[in-house]
């Protein structure tokens, strides 16, 4: 079955050796990505399309002195590989000197990743169709319209260079999301999940959650836009909190073009930026959110604390900027994020609100002002009014203009963190574990008629 194909460690070592043997540059780095992807889409209660593909690509990065060129190809025979190396070397020689060029790293040691699951790698089209049916059939029986998407990835990455560095890791990932709508289009509910392991997903339960939200969200009423106390379900929290870590780049901060720039120069490391209950970490060995154990240039990635008790603990430093600033390099690319939480359930959080809004998830989230990490976007597929500690009715969707920084400063309470599907496109995306939160003065700026 195609679904289980990803190049093994020995195969990658042999391929890298073949490519390096053809190299004449001062330094050469070979990156190999291989893997299979499978997907099944369903719409209007039936499977609409699907796809299975396998690809393996080699990236050759050649450096002469401070001149570098990169060539990527998916043709792996000897002649094509040699041609790719020769082209990368030609590009490098034509490239001007890069004053910021850093030498390749020597051999490193890496933690061994545990993010591979055979249950995901072996999922075939009929198993995917069964998962889809576990959602479409109950939806059809309930007179509702289900649409959704199941994607699996099983892939391996290897980095090797002419100084003897070799890193290899393989991972699986999958996501299942569904949007269930009422026949008349006045109600819509969403549920989604991601994991590295298909066995941890329950398609029927996920469908039932979306069906329940679709039914409860019919005939929404308009509320006045303005500042509200909100309960954000974990997906909505994940949708926004990921942008904080994405902005935590030391160089942009030091150059004065980031929220993390300090007034008068420098950056905000050591400064309190959000509520002291908030800690943000990324750990590639987090059993609920496995990530990458090495970066594109072969640096080992270990557990990193970005914000600790509300204070900026670290910013990401590339190797050049770290050297220039006299810091240790810190890669950003773990692909995982965890936010600390509390012990309350979503229902308990709701019970503490006199008047507010419950948000299932956000949509079409786009940057507006990088000075404050301000984003705009809309609520979608399950937005409800809370009155005197209870959900009383569905409300129309609202557009927000808000920063996750302000949101976490206005924090009132947090629930239990869970793994969420926080990628808008419904793919596996980053592995994110976040709590539901209660926060005040969340800024909604207009109403939307969209259901």
């Amino acid at each position: 079955m195609v679904a289980a194909r990803a190049m093994g460690r020995e195969e990658c070592e042999a391929l890298a050796k073949r490519a390096l043997a053809a190299a004449t540059a001062d330094e050469t780095r070979i990156t190999i990505n291989s893997g299979a992807r499978g997907n099944t889409r369903f719409a209007v209660n039936q499977i609409s399309t699907g796809g299975d593909n396998y690809d393996a690509t080699v990236s050759v990065r050649s450096t002469f002195g401070k001149r570098t060129g990169v060539v990527n190809t998916n043709k792996l025979d000897d002649a094509s590989l040699k041609a790719a190396v020769q082209l990368a070397e030609r590009l490098a020689k034509l490239s001007p000197e890069d004053p910021e060029a850093m030498p390749e790293l020597g051999p490193q040691s890496y933690a061994s990743s545990r993010g591979w699951s055979d249950s995901t790698a072996s999922l075939d089209p009929s198993a995917r169709a069964n998962a889809a049916r576990a959602i479409t059939e109950p939806a059809r029986a309930a007179g509702l319209v289900s649409t959704g998407y199941l994607e699996t990835r099983a892939g391996a990455t290897a980095v090797a260079n002419s100084k003897g560095l070799f890193a290899y890791d393989r991972q699986t990932a999958l996501s299942l999301t569904t949007t269930v709508r009422t026949e008349d289009g006045t109600g819509s509910g969403w549920a989604g999940a991601t994991s590295h392991d298909f066995a941890q997903l329950n398609p029927r339960d996920l469908g039932a959650r979306a069906i329940d939200k679709a039914r409860r969200s019919v005939n929404p009423v308009a509320v006045e836009p303005g500042r509200y106390t909100v309960i954000l379900e974990p997906t909505a929290v994940g949708n926004l909190v990921q942008f904080i870590v994405n902005a935590m780049n030391a160089r942009n901060a030091d150059e004065g073009r980031s929220f993390f720039s300090k007034a008068g120069g420098g950056n905000k490391i050591g400064m309190k930026v959000v509520d002291e209950r908030v800690t943000l970490t990324s750990d590639p060995l987090d059993p609920e959110a496995y990530g990458n154990t090495f970066s594109n240039d072969g640096q080992p990635i270990s557990k990193t604390t970005w914000i600790e008790n509300g204070v900026v603990k670290n910013l990401a430093y590339d190797r050049f900027w770290a050297q220039k600033q006299g810091r240790e390099p810190l890669p950003s690319g773990a692909g995982t994020l965890r936010m600390t939480g509390g012990s309350a359930s979503v229902d308990e959080l709701i019970a503490s609100v006199d008047r507010g809004i419950l948000v299932t998830r956000f949509w079409y989230i786009r940057p507006v002002d990088p000075r404050t990490i301000l984003y705009t976007g809309l609520t979608r597929d399950g937005t409800f009014l809370i009155e005197r500690g209870r959900i009383t009715r569905a409300v129309k969707n609202l557009r927000f203009n808000e920063s996750p920084i302000f949101m976490l400063n206005n924090l009132e309470a947090m629930g239990r963190p869970v793994r969420v599907s926080a990628s808008e496109a419904g793919g596996p995306g980053q592995a994110i574990v976040v709590p539901p939160i209660k926060t005040r003065d969340f800024s909604f700026t207009s109403l939307s008629d969209a259901v």
Binding site: V44, G50, D52, D55, A129, V145, R366, S446, D449
Partner: protein
């Protein structure tokens, strides 16, 4: 042909195969250095099959006889698995077969024939020109080129070969205030990506334009924060292309209208078609929206779509009223009743597209353009006719809901208009709109001499998300009394 034969013997009533070789080159610079120089090639094939009215698709980069046959059988087996949950089988609208078709994009100079040194030197001189401007601190510039060689065949007898080019030069200049309390950027949105070759880079005059972009970034630092309220907006084509893309092109995709994209891209307010076609007033009578894949140098231009259909030019909005939707062979039959009523043939408009050999094709937008007005008005004429308003140049931040009603757009440059004149620069401007009200509030538009082709390079739709490239032509327009917010929050 081997793939089509293997698919048919595995039970497919229809099959098609796409083989493509994509070559991509990108060069990225900042200030006085080249950050990245890369050349990518990907080659592979994908087979799509229809078995009992259900689709299957499989793809591989290994173009050997055995693998081609195996992938074709796999696509057929997947279609059979997908059929299990079927409610309504897929029926393709008829399309004439093209026996041997060849098409080549209008590139005069193949970007892959141009020396790297020339490309690098051009970017670095443009950066230098921007950095000479007092107050400009950072500059990023880039070039991106694509050449796709695509061969397509289907079991109806079509066989086509196409060569598609795309070129995108870009620059962003950032200015930082002396006390580090503010920073502002200007992106080169007055240069659109196009379906052309190296000549598009030369025509873009990066070195000549760079000082202006830098000056505008610096000016933004001292621009006046906008006062919230309702304003008449005069929108430049370099800005309006994106608004058309989001608020007209997306909601008239027929798969969205029928709920096929509800889980990601969303549905559409332009639904159901029975209540919209020939009835719904999208905008004023002088508003005409055209779909096509033929405008010279446009990003969606091609000879045949990924269903093997030769695209046609069609009106989506005619005299302000919804007239048609974007379709593929699978979807054209859904509007059979309307085409019969209009005495038009039921045929696909040619809107099938896949981003690469590894992805399945589906309905994607063609170029969707606002046709210019009969009076040959210009940008300056619209400003001169406006008493109190804001002129917006270049596209910026954007967001729109899943049915394409409520949108918010920023921009690159904002100018205050008072008494028919530009009186100064504004910042932190975004407008919020409800699509039908926004287009019905349009009361002026420019003529053919002010028509300009904007381009979107990374339009995302589908699951897995696929990227499409399209152009949107338009003249400048004026919209009365639109809600403007100030986005410059401090807490």
């Amino acid at each position: 042909m081997l793939a089509l034969d293997a698919a048919r013997s595995a039970g497919a009533e229809y099959a098609d195969v796409r083989i493509s070789r994509n070559r991509v080159q990108s060069i990225n610079t900042r200030e006085r250095r080249v950050q990245g120089l890369s050349d990518n090639e990907t080659f592979g094939f994908g087979v799509r099959t229809l078995v009992g009215g259900a689709w299957g698709f499989a793809a591989s980069s290994d173009l050997t006889r055995d693998e081609v046959a195996r992938i074709a059988r796999q696509a057929a087996a997947q279609a059979k698995a997908n059929r299990a949950a079927q409610v309504r089988p897929v029926v393709l609208a008829p399309a004439p077969a093209t026996k041997e078709g060849k098409w080549r994009g209008p590139a005069k100079l193949d970007p892959f024939d141009i020396a790297i040194e020339e490309k690098v030197a051009l970017l670095l001189s443009a950066n230098e020109a921007a950095l000479k401007v007092q107050g400009s601190r950072f500059v990023n510039s880039a070039m991106f080129f694509l050449r796709e060689e695509k061969t397509y065949a289907n079991s109806d007898g079509s066989f086509t070969e196409q060569m598609i080019y795309r070129a995108s030069p870009t620059m962003t200049v950032t200015a930082v205030s002396s006390d580090s309390s503010d920073f502002q950027s200007r992106q080169s949105t007055d240069i659109a990506p196009m379906g052309r070759g190296w000549e598009h880079v030369l025509d873009s005059k990066l070195v000549e334009n760079a000082p202006r972009w830098a000056e505008e970034a610096v000016q933004k630092l001292s621009a006046k924060p906008v006062e919230v309220g309702r304003y008449d907006l005069v929108l430049h084509p370099t800005h309006l292309g994106l608004t058309i893309h989001e608020s007209i092109a997306h909601p008239t995709e027929l798969d969205r209208v029928y709920g096929y994209e509800a889980n990601y891209a969303g549905t559409s307010f332009v639904a159901p078609p029975e209540k919209m076609l020939g009835k719904f007033k999208y905008g004023p009578e002088f508003m005409n929206i055209q779909g096509d894949r033929s405008q010279d140098g446009s990003l969606a231009a091609c000879g045949w779509d990924d269903d093997g259909v030769q695209p046609e030019t069609f009106l989506i909005i005619k005299n302000g009223i919804v007239h048609d939707y974007q379709t593929t062979r699978e979807q054209a039959n859904w509007l059979d009743w309307w085409y019969k009523q209009q005495k038009l043939p039921t045929r696909s408009h040619g809107c099938s597209y896949a981003q690469s050999w590894a992805d399945v094709q589906f309905q994607r937008m063609p170029n969707v353009s606002l046709l210019p007005g009969e009076q040959n008005l210009k940008w300056e004429d619209l400003i001169a006719a406006t008493d109190r308003g804001i002129a917006i140049v270049g596209d910026g931040s954007f967001s729109i809901d899943q049915q394409r009603y409520n949108a918010q757009f920023g921009g690159q440059l904002f100018y205050e208009i008072r008494g028919g004149k530009i009186t100064g620069m504004l910042k932190d401007v975004a407008y919020q709109m409800r699509t039908p009200e926004f287009w019905n509030a349009m009361d002026m538009m420019g003529g053919k001499d002010s028509y300009w082709l904007w381009g979107a390079f990374g339009d995302a739709k589908g699951q897995p998300s696929q990227s499409n490239a399209v152009s949107h032509g338009c003249p400048p327009t004026r919209h009365r009394q639109i809600n403007v917010i100030n986005t410059g929050r401090r807490a």
